[in-house]
């Protein structure tokens, strides 16, 4: 275990627990940073006072009211949303790589990104008639709903196309993914062609991703559709370890291979579709984070899956912090930040042979 270089004895004896503890610390540190830093100054005292107030230990001092409002209204929902969505992206990326037995796989391969994009773009271009149809009840939920439906729909279409005689051929799945992705991109292009100037701008920003729209009302949905499937994905660690040897070997080791493939694709598609439905596309978290974990701690999925989730969460919280701080008071799209961080890092990985 490469992590155990200078760790104390207890950590060397339980390398998994030590690595997971490290991941939890990284996430907590990122969350704290996400609360403390940003365009408006918030003191550590305010964070502490708010914590005491929420737990009912001490009432909030009057001079901290404004800072507390910044925390509760803006930063806390943003940090929590970013953490859960980042965890989903990291874990889903790791699961897809294990499932496709390809270190370059990500949920985009099974149509999540392109499908969600098509849904979101359609909801922007047809916002007027769609909202009228729903009787004004959907409001801000229209786009997330459309993006979620698009991402999940594309995945189900691709997996259905790859089914033959009850078995999913992984090679066919990848090819069907390429074709469905191309089709969704073409339809998206057609919609962009139909869009007016303002819609075209909205579309561009959606594809770049942003967590600026985070609100408390979204959290229950994100817990149910991002956090819950992410936790369920963590249970696939042992089956994915068996799949490292190939599907036939995994069957010899007692795995219901088709069931695991179905569970993994559907759970990953739900987690990622629901995540990007609220934020727009966020690239590279699902690709880079699992790589980093494997480099540091080896290929055992019992470590790779939870640590990818924890570090994916930490990374997205920090990327969001960078996105809203760097050009304040304006905001950079968070997808731009993750790609700016992720792409050079990935190239470095390729050069040092980490992806071979």
């Amino acid at each position: 275990m490469a992590l155990g270089l200078t760790l104390p004895r207890a950590a060397a004896r339980h390398p998994f627990a030590a690595a997971l503890l490290l991941g939890v610390c990284a996430l907590l540190a990122a969350l704290l940073a996400g609360l403390l830093f940003g365009p408006a100054a918030v003191s550590a005292r305010a964070v502490l006072a708010l914590g005491l107030d929420v737990t009912g230990l001490a009432p909030l001092p009057a001079d901290l009211q404004r800072e507390a409002a910044v925390l509760t209204v803006i930063r806390l929902p943003r940090a929590l949303l970013a953490a859960m969505i980042g965890a989903g992206l990291g874990a889903a990326g790791a699961v897809m790589q294990g499932l496709f037995r390809n270190p370059l796989a990500d949920p985009g391969l099974i149509g999540v990104s392109a499908g969600a994009g098509l849904g979101a773009v359609a909801s922007i271009v047809f916002a007027g008639p769609l909202l009228a149809l729903a009787g004004g009840k959907l409001g801000l939920w229209l786009m997330p709903l459309a993006a979620f439906a698009g991402g999940l729909g594309a995945t189900l279409l691709i997996t259905r196309l790859a089914q033959r005689e009850g078995a999913t051929a992984v090679a066919t799945l990848l090819l069907a993914g390429v074709a469905v992705n191309a089709l969704a991109a073409a339809l998206t292009g057609l919609l962009i062609f139909m869009a007016d100037e303002r819609q075209a701008r909205d579309i561009t920003f959606w594809t770049l991703g942003s967590i600026a729209g985070a609100r408390w009302s979204q959290l229950p949905v994100v817990i149910a559709l991002v956090l819950a499937p992410t936790l369920a994905l963590l249970r696939l660690a042992r089956p994915l370890n068996a799949l490292v040897l190939g599907e036939a070997e995994a069957f010899h080791l007692g795995l219901k291979v088709e069931r695991v493939k179905r569970q993994a694709t559907v759970l990953a598609a739900i987690a990622v579709s629901a995540g990007v439905a609220f934020t727009g596309l966020i690239g590279f978290v699902g690709l880079v984070v699992p790589h980093l974990v494997r480099l540091a701690g080896g290929a055992d999925h019992r470590l790779v899956l939870p640590l990818s989730a924890l570090l994916g969460a930490a990374l997205l919280v920090l990327a969001d912090l960078v996105a809203r701080s760097l050009a304040a008071p304006a905001e950079l799209p968070v997808g731009v930040v993750t790609a700016l961080l992720g792409a050079p890092f990935f190239l470095w990985l390729l050069r040092r042979g980490g992806a071979s």
């Binding site: 294990g98 490292v244 040897l245 190939g246 069957f251 010899h252 007692g254 290929a299």
Partner: protein
């Protein structure tokens, strides 16, 4: 333990096995021989339950293989395939440790560490345990896969089955000999063993019975001396065979 009854296997419209009937009993070694493309690996896959026959039956312990739960089956038989490549970097000991997956959550789990160490030692790869699997030679990888199967086999109640598809293919003569001796020892412990072999002298040494396949049909089955005759082999392989002193066979190039 395993019984095929007039089993016919078709894949993509081709008949790979044509009405093959064969039985494997606990404590015996069955060698499966035949030319390339004769259907040896397909026969193995019928025995493991990976493929199900379109006609006829394939049964394990009297129950049709289609009715077995994969996990239950993995607790009764282990399989060594021809060549296993990994996607992600793992050490040899981790690969061998995957043989313990079927025993996760059972009392046998307590012996995981000891069982893997013993399996690595029996397969002669203890010294390679901490090395990355991908950097091992073909023969070393093969022995690590054998260790994985042994780790799986360790906790099985007897009778159990061990199925090996050309396990000697990339081994040197010394390691071939020790593998074949290991298989004889396992058979003596009550394990039913089926093994695909190309080397007829190895088959002769290790097997209680030999099954000779050609073009998807079972041509002959029985004691090594009855099946591995120069006449029959010459007809199947298209090359002359000569019996040599001590009971061996030599192909005439």
């Amino acid at each position: 333990m395993i019984r095929l009854a007039a089993a016919t296997l078709c894949r993509s419209g081709r008949v790979l096995l044509d009405r093959v009937s064969l039985a494997l009993s606990p404590g015996e070694v069955l060698a499966i021989v035949g030319p390339n493309g004769a259907g040896k690996s397909s026969l193995m896959k019928l025995c493991t339950g990976e493929f199900l026959p379109q006609e006829g039956h394939a049964a394990f312990e009297g129950r049709d293989l289609s009715a077995w739960d994969p996990l239950e089956l993995a607790r009764r038989r282990a399989v060594v395939s021809q060549k296993v490549a990994l996607t992600f970097p793992m050490r040899a000991v981790e690969v061998a440790g995957l043989g313990r997956l079927p025993w996760h959550g059972t009392p046998a789990m307590r012996r995981d560490r000891a069982a893997v160490a013993e399996a690595l030692s029996r397969a002669g790869v203890s010294a390679l345990a901490q090395r990355p699997y991908a950097l091992l030679s073909g023969g070393e990888q093969q022995r690590v896969q054998i260790a994985r199967a042994l780790a799986q086999l360790e906790a099985m109640p007897r009778p159990a089955a061990l199925l090996l598809d050309e396990p000697t293919a990339s081994l040197d003569p010394g390691h071939r000999a020790s593998l074949l001796r290991l298989l004889r020892a396992l058979a003596a412990e009550g394990v039913a063993i089926a093994i695909v072999l190309h080397d007829l002298n190895e088959a002769r040494f290790v097997a209680d019975r030999v099954a000779l396949l050609a073009e998807g049909r079972l041509l002959a089955e029985g004691a090594p001396d009855d099946v591995l005759t120069p006449g029959l082999l010459g007809q199947v392989y298209g090359v002359g065979f000569r019996a040599v002193e001590g009971g061996g066979l030599l192909a005439e190039y």
